[in-house]
Assembly symmetry: C2
Homo-oligomer: 334 residues x 2
């Protein structure tokens, strides 16, 4: 199979090197010097020291896409639209997978919505998502991991599953594109909440409660948008949330941990090179939840703390003293 991977950050490069086991891979890097380095066997900017398998890297989008039978998009959420707009026509029935987690600022669109917006003629059932607990560094090191390819056309999903799966990286199919994408966008918000719990030095009961109830509210929003609540208990939801929420390497988690330990968001932003994805995603997520009339109490408290309107401890107390409810409230019909 001939695959184009668009975006040579750590995740795009990692996926390209996995896919190169079975397919002919073209990897697009924005910068010619990075493409050249990758052709020399290393991505010094994003995966320094990792020996890459043979692949064709190029900074020419048309060359990367030429003859591709599938496209994997691994550019940041703020860059996806402009890259697609700059691309030459892509055959309308080949699969396009978004590897990007996040929501487009301004439009509030999910990544597959951005793809459909730029490529309105493309076959919708062939536009999907690859998502899961996939820290690039661990996967490129060969640690066992798994992911989900979510795509409406199951036959196409299975072709990609066979193309991407290796002995160390399992690929599961799922037909719930919206669910998988909502998971990827919301988990960064929830990772901030999980970080706060760590920062307040609460124990495992408290963390486990927050992860579980965070998933419940993610599922509530997802259902309202047409997705299957069971997707949220899968690799793109629970799996990614557990990995992100427990990882001291996650920027979102560490923002939360610093908030939980008593720093203000201004102090944290002043000493951070990059704004954590969850900090940017929280306002559009809350706007979406409000528009859809879905209660998301944990996300709302993350918003309050980020806006400086509540301390993490006050937020926890507000959450703990909410009205008593059934566990499946808003998910399972009573």
């Amino acid at each position: 199979m001939r695959m184009a991977v668009i975006g040579a950050g750590s995740w795009g490069t990692t996926m390209a090197s996995l896919v190169a086991e079975r397919s002919d891979v073209a990897l697009w890097a924005r910068r010619p010097d990075l493409a050249e380095a990758i052709n020399g066997g290393e991505n010094p900017d994003y995966l320094p020291g990792v020996a890459l398998p043979p692949m064709r890297a190029t900074s020419d989008l048309a060359e990367a896409l030429d003859g591709a039978e599938a496209v994997l998009l691994a550019v940041p959420s703020h860059g996806l639209r402009s890259v697609l707009e700059a691309a030459p026509p892509i055959p309308v029935d080949i699969p396009i997978l978004s590897l990007t987690k996040g929501i487009e600022q301004g439009s509030g669109m999910r990544m597959t919505e951005v793809i459909r917006d730029v490529l309105p003629e493309h076959r919708t059932a062939a536009i999907g998502v690859l998502s899961g607990p996939n820290l690039a560094k661990e996967i490129v090191a060969g640690e066992p991991a798994a992911t989900v390819v979510a795509l409406r056309d199951l036959a196409v999903a299975e072709v990609l599953q066979r193309a991407i799966m290796t002995r160390r990286f399992r690929v599961y199919t799922n037909n719930d594109v919206i669910g998988a994408e909502i998971c990827g966008a919301l988990k960064n918000v929830m990772a901030i909440a999980a970080g706060m719990i760590t920062g307040m030095q609460f124990g495992l009961n408290t963390s486990a409660m927050f992860v579980t109830r965070a998933l419940a509210e993610m599922a509530r929003l997802g259902m309202r948008l047409g997705s299957n609540p069971l997707t949220f208990g899968g690799l793109a939801g629970l799996g990614d949330l557990v990995a992100t929420s427990m990882s001291p390497l996650s920027r979102n988690h560490s923002v939360g941990a610093r908030l939980g330990a008593g720093e203000t968001i201004e102090e944290i932003l002043a000493t951070s090179a990059q704004v954590a994805e969850g900090v940017k995603t929280t306002p559009p997520v809350l706007a979406l939840a409000e528009r859809e009339g879905v209660e998301m109490p944990i996300a709302e408290e993350v918003g309050r703390v980020l806006r400086g309107e509540s301390t993490p401890l006050e937020s926890v107390e507000r959450l703990m003293t909410r009205e008593a409810q059934s566990e499946g409230h808003g998910i399972i019909e009573p």
Copy 2:
């Protein structure tokens, strides 16, 4: 409300002290000296140093149950049957909640099945389960936590919810008794698997994948037995599994970690005071899965490693190279 809590281990005593906020609690301890100590304000055997609120402790079962409007059973799985058999008649319509996680050795029965077996006249819809990520030490220390009361009669569940809930311990209702019980029994098996991943020094991706796929196979078995797969993504399932799988305090997790690091089960048992619950639960769980025709690949590998037929690494490799599947295989209709 008048509540009887049967069993004065760390969990029974903790629940009694929570419930004592709103109810008149009688706590049954097998040993008179322990009952006397608790009446003095401390359980020196199971919660040393913790000041208990006023409650009536007794070693007389009839006295503990006299006038009770609800019964919470917190005796170990191997002792539940004999305690119930020794008890005076319990009014057939008062709620009975099992706080015990596990399966009865020999019969393979869930705890509510044991209750129904001993008390066949008791109203089935009033027999339920309380389960969640509830490490007694953290809860008695006042850390925020949550649990599920699963009971077929939702009105009764809501009465118990109001009686048990405090500002630091949220109670959610659920009508899926079987699901909540299966979760509690299986999580100890899965915690051994999670421990092995830690012992092999794999990272968070790998742990998150195992937790997620472990829940999927728990849900497969649960569904076959009539439960709702969404229960497995709730507090009794996911919540408890995350807490147990991440906790170095869990005996099951530490057995797994030692196996993962290369020790044999004989070496581990030779240096352990108690056999971890998951080691005992694995054979009946595998027998149940086989009888029901449900694939439980992770539980099967735990069985193989415990029987000395596979190393943890061989088990991981076998799991990673299984046939490619959909994520909802056996749970979501294709």
